[in-house]
Symmetry: C2
Subunit: 249 residues, 2 copies
């Protein structure tokens, strides 16, 4: 969606290392925003983005106008049942339908061999992996590691919404994941105990309102597993983060 | 869906005339049948189909197993709002979602330049035209003329369900279209008068129960237009037919 940061650019570098040509799409997709969400104010910086992409050796950027993606009379929607309807999908109704629809269009536009997505949006990755397989696209979906600030905050275009106090409060996401990870590394496997470790840390920040804090299977997000997923509001800003428990953090 | 008749083979011939390679899919798609519909008994004749296709110079037939099209855990659905939800879509809930989903998969499997469909399923054509455009597939959708028996019955794999009495009754579809076409050619343009011409003929057959008889715009099926569309049950067999009023019939 543009407003590129080092997380996005790590996807570019990963693609460049594995493919002869790399194409980047930049499109703030209205269909994946709810009516009360931040579509209008979502950060946009096409000039800065194109400069950054040129610096990383991208072959082409695809920055379509809205009407190119949603032509007059557009009526086709792609949804992924199950994984697309829980957690983020439940808190943001229609969000993953918007994601699956636009990614389906981008896949047709580019017909790539591989497509790169960030693990920061872990559930989005799972939705797209499912869709790419179900539709028989033959596209290999690659998930790349979360890139964090030195203090642990996961990079997100939405971080620029945060004032100083909220920026400090937002670190509770990282602390919660650390706390659950420490418990996991110390031998805790009980899902409710791991969930409790997340929740116990989140309540330490009064400016933070949790949407959910779960420990789920990273592929289907319903069965218990070792992926800790968090969503919170920090003031008006909604942030998500996640970590595969047991991995370095 | 196989059980190929001369209507299907006319699509093959149309493709052969315009393209260097022609691929035919044969797949009775469970997703487009309702729970009370005829999926189990739908005619299947793979051997006969392959012989007919070889005779028409097809380069490849794609007859996937169910699991190839719907892999374990399959959860992705494609729908076309509006056009996919009215008339056939209203009488057969989920039908066009099943069609759009499977055609989307077939498009990815084959990535054709052009795709050929019969006008017998006029609303299906409109759904697929919309989907192909919305998703930016770049695939040109060609709609080919209805092929009829000498007595006017439109070819359909379901015609083989009809016993002699029902076969005779089914001709009322053709007579209704002729009656509306004659009215159109005589100058009638009022949609309700044209609809009335269809309905007045349908009631002449006691074995025939109409689902709908409308005169609509051939692209969006909501605005009035000059496409007469019919759906009826003849005994246990559901049949559809249509005609663009003013054209020879």
């Amino acid at each position: 969606m543009g407003a590129l940061h080092a997380g996005h650019l790590s996807l570019v570098d990963a693609s460049r290392a594995e493919n002869s040509r790399t194409v980047v799409s930049i499109f703030v997709n209205p269909l994946q925003f709810g009516p009360q969400e931040d579509f209008e104010r979502y950060p946009r910086d096409l000039e800065g983005d194109l400069a950054a992409l040129a610096g990383h050796g991208v072959d082409a950027a695809f920055a379509p106008r809205r009407e190119e993606v949603y032509p007059p009379g557009d009526a086709t929607r792609v949804r992924v049942e199950g994984i697309g309807e829980i957690l983020e999908g439940a808190f943001r109704p229609g969000h993953f339908e918007g994601v699956a629809t636009v990614v389906s269009k981008l896949f047709w536009a580019v017909r790539p061999d591989r497509a790169y997505f960030g693990r920061k949006d872990a559930q989005q990755v799972a939705v797209i992996v499912r869709m790419a397989a179900d539709l028989g696209t033959g596209i290999e979906v690659r998930a790349c590691p979360i890139v964090r600030e030195p203090d642990g905050l996961a990079l997100s275009s939405r971080n620029r919404y945060l004032d100083a106090a909220h920026r400090t409060s937002a670190l509770v996401l990282y602390r919660a994941l650390r706390r659950a990870n420490d418990a996991y590394l110390a031998g805790t496997r009980d899902p409710s105990a791991l969930r409790e470790a997340l929740a116990a840390e989140l309540v330490t920040e009064s400016l933070v309102v949790p949407d959910y804090a779960e420990v789920v299977d990273p592929d289907d997000f319903t069965k218990p597993g070792r992926l800790a997923v968090l969503a919170v509001s920090v003031g008006d800003t909604r942030l998500i983060d996640n970590h595969l428990l047991g991995e370095p953090l």
